[in-house]
């Protein structure tokens, strides 16, 4: 191909998919499968940085003026903005392109995984089974039902969701989830998609130097992306990672074992009912990008159960995108809501409208035990760029999270946030 790259200028391009690290159960992509993800990663960058500003222009220049004319007032909430924007030709086209990019990511990921599903299942079995059958660090409980909030639609347009199987007992859901995140985040989460977990390790080591938690609970672990770094950082600590979906747990366990995180026990369990654990069992209860995939009634139950099993002086920490506070402009709330309605995240909008502090107080915390902080993905900056925030960010997918936390009954020991 002709040389089109000026040497003196650094363009914002996604790192190559080759830079994604392989572990014991990674699907092996062919040359062209890599190229598909390279295209999508760069396309999503283009969508977020170059086309997305058109949404605000369309709003300011024609959608808002038309709304004011028709209603004689400003839009009251993000829903009114969405209904008005959904009629705008620019926003419609942008949304259609973005929806296609999400669908292509799923198709591309599934094609890589499903063509080699027998090999992947065999590799997973090698890590999951020992001489005595399934290792004790993987506990699947088929009686755990898939909650309605997980089965109503396939979350983020992932066909089959977390719990679906293409072949009985397979790991396809986990492998597809794992291999395609690079495409939607432009590599912003790092080589092992664990930039959030790496950030947690850095954060806790600064926040509580020398602290050695005895037992940590990760709720809704999926493939364990963000708990493996913590397990490696605290090798003497016992980690319990739960999820309702068996296929991703099979993959998660094999992945963790292959990465040397043998101190995590993966258990199929529903976080709404943690009765198998006594009060005060854990020193740390963690959720990462999880609560927005539950429901109005499940979320308070899960936080209350988390509170109960948390020991005094223990840490509860939730990593999510920022909530829709009154300080956040309605237009930004509307953009952040895109995934709710266009990418099958049906609880996303309601969840981000909750006041997480109130939810944690309802679960039993004292208000002055609570803190908030920002957590930015920690990745190898040599290869992986810092994910943009602000105007250029792909709202809802930025590798920068809001952490809602509390140290149980230890308010005097905890300075608020950064």
């Amino acid at each position: 191909m002709s040389k089109t790259v000026p040497n003196d200028q650094k363009l914002d391009v996604a790192p190559p998919y080759n830079a994604v690290a392989r572990h014991g159960v990674s699907p092996q992509p062919s040359h062209d499968e890599i190229a598909r993800f390279d295209f999508l990663a760069n396309f999503n960058k283009f969508m977020a940085s170059t086309l997305s500003p058109g949404n605000k222009l369309a709003y300011d220049k024609r959608v808002l003026p038309a709304f004011l004319k028709e209603h004689g007032r400003e839009p009251q909430d993000r829903f009114e903005i969405r209904h008005a924007m959904n009629k705008d030709p620019f926003h419609k086209f942008w949304s259609a392109l973005k929806r296609n990019s999400m669908e292509m990511r799923q198709q591309n990921g599934r094609a890589i995984v499903l063509r080699q599903i027998d090999e992947l299942n065999a590799k997973a079995r090698q890590y999951n089974e020992g001489a005595q059958g399934v290792k004790s660090t993987l506990e699947l409980n088929p009686e755990i039902a898939v909650p309605r909030y997980q089965s109503a639609v396939d979350i983020h347009c992932m066909p089959g969701s977390y719990h679906g199987e293409e072949l009985p007992g397979d790991v396809s859901a986990g492998a597809n989830y794992d291999c395609g995140i690079f495409a939607t985040t432009g590599g912003g989460l790092g080589a092992l998609t664990d930039g959030g977990g790496q950030a947690l390790v850095d954060w806790i080591k600064k926040e509580r130097p020398g602290w050695e938690p005895r037992r940590v609970l990760d709720i809704g672990t999926t493939v364990g992306h963000n708990i493996v770094p913590l397990a490696l950082a605290f090798p003497d600590c016992e980690f319990i990672a739960i999820d309702t979906a068996a296929p991703i747990l099979r993959y998660a366990h094999a992945r963790a074992q292959s990465l040397g995180a043998t101190n995590i026990k993966f258990i199929q369990a529903n976080a709404e009912d943690l009765s198998r654990w006594d009060d005060g069992t854990f020193d740390w209860v963690q959720t990462t990008m999880f609560l927005h995939e539950t429901s109005g009634k499940a979320l308070p139950k899960i936080i209350a159960e988390g509170y109960r099993v948390l020991a005094d002086n223990g840490l509860m920490l939730h990593l999510e995108q920022p909530e829709y506070s009154d300080a956040m402009p309605l237009f930004e709330q509307f953009l952040r809501d895109w995934d709710a309605f266009n990418n099958n995240e049906p609880f996303w909008s309601s969840m981000h409208a909750l006041d997480m502090k109130d939810e944690m107080v309802k679960a039993g915390f004292d208000r002055d035990e609570l803190f908030e902080t920002g957590v930015r993905a920690v990745v190898d900056r040599e290869i992986f760029p810092e994910a943009p925030t602000g105007e250029d960010e792909d709202h809802g997918r930025a590798a920068f999270w809001h952490a809602y936390g509390a140290w149980k009954n230890a308010d005097q020991m905890q300075e608020a946030a950064e």
Partner: protein, 120 residues
Amino acid sequence: MTEQVFDWMAAANKKAKGKRPEYFDDPEDERMLSILMAVVGEVSVLRERMDTVERLLDAKGTISRDDIESYTPDKEAAYERGAMIREYIYRVMRGPHQMVEELQHAEPPVEEVSKELKEI
């Protein structure tokens, strides 16, 4: 013959549960855009493959399919390929990109300009 052959190509296309939003007035436009975007992606894949072949030929003079499959760009090549994809994306996305510019600067129809020029 077993009828239980797992058709992974068909399975890869599985639809996500949940009604798909409609973005255009004509549902056929939804399908057309999905085909077009898939082709846009595939052309990018072909270009990247071509780039791999050219780089390998430059370096070695003769290559095998295995060389292509196992090719890993170094840092500089990775950046150049990223820029190549970016350039390609800008070219095919000219239409929507120009919509952003139109939104920045509203312009009168050329017919109006034509009338104006007649008078000056």
